[in-house]
Symmetry: C2
Subunit: 206 residues, 2 copies
């Protein structure tokens, strides 16, 4: 199944032609592709914003614990053993209109709700601290099966996060709630995901 | 040679007892140790600021290009081939008093001046963009041989960076200039390097 942007351009699925038996593990492949496309869209969006001098926002590198490094040549240290570490913060941060901006991007294959288990306690804590210090904090959620992307500001996310621990608390955010409490980010040509326009509305910037 | 904090505590030199022939390559060892101690001091300082709810500032992970990953078990992906990538931004960023804060930390073994070649063009460009967008941008420079640490605000760093391309331009910043145009960060017990106090002075925060 191929998704298309409103302009007809298809999503690139990078490893279509190279599927090994291992990669055919359905869950693993789907996670990988899901990660690629929203991340790719946001990276290109941020590059556009940087080019247009609108904001300076970067994705942080993935935290990796290096265990062993070979030095075959002085100029090219080769890491031969390393492991992925759990991120202690969010994926994206930077500066916009002098303000600190910090957000996390997540995808789901679900069509009607977003499972809260996709967030980690430490990410919520980090966003809470940033928000309390005056930062602009939010999440970008993509429903990959229906290709709709939403922005939810941190205070609303916090409410949803906290209610899950109540008796009969919901374990996911219904898409209807995202439509009502959040903002849908509509794909465009450039930038692909114009999320800063929604931030302008949300924070009443001119 | 062992350095001591004003409180008498010695710097930890982690690989003293494990020096292989390769590690005895003088330049390599010195770079490694230099990196460890200023980074360690700043990490502990940032942890202190986070604990005291004064600011949310983290070091970004080192960017690594992963080439090959083994999956011996589902839960522990092992990276078997990877390479260090050049950082496109600075090492530290976060939020302080609602403002975006962004800085780079560097060390030198020199005693009288800091060589400008320690900065990369793209780091200066990144800091320039952040500063223009209203961020708080500066560098922390440690002279490891004499154990003195200075904070230099971005506008002053930019002047020094640019003059090096002039005829007879200096290729390093004399320590005298750092004393005059910057601020010395005096070691303390907690936080180890109280650089935010200097930011308060510099940006006239109460």
């Amino acid at each position: 199944m191929t998704f298309h942007y409103p302009n007809g351009q298809a999503y690139l699925v990078h490893d279509d032609k190279k599927k090994s038996k291992k990669q055919l593990n359905k869950k693993k492949v789907s996670y990988s592709n899901r990660g690629m496309s929203l991340e790719d869209d946001l990276t290109r969006t941020n590059e556009y914003y940087l080019l247009k001098n609108r904001a300076v926002i970067h994705k942080k590198p993935i935290p990796i614990q290096v265990v062993n490094v070979d030095y075959p040549r002085r100029s090219a240290a080769k890491i031969t053993e390393a492991y992925y570490k759990k991120a202690s913060t969010t994926d994206y941060n930077g500066v916009y209109r002098g303000r600190y901006i910090d957000f996390e991007a997540k995808e789901t294959r679900n069509k009607t709700s977003f499972p809260l288990k996709n967030f980690h306690e430490h990410q919520i804590k980090h966003m809470n601290a940033c928000f309390e210090h005056g930062g602009i904090c939010f999440v970008v959620i993509r429903f990959s099966s229906i290709n709709r992307v939403f922005l939810l500001n941190f205070p609303q996310l916090k409410n949803w996060w906290q209610q899950q621990f109540d008796e009969n608390g919901k374990k996911s955010i219904p898409i209807k709630a995202l439509i009502k409490e959040g903002y849908e980010i509509k794909y465009s040509l450039a930038p692909r995901l114009p999320y800063l326009d929604l931030i302008d509305t949300l924070y009443s910037f001119k």
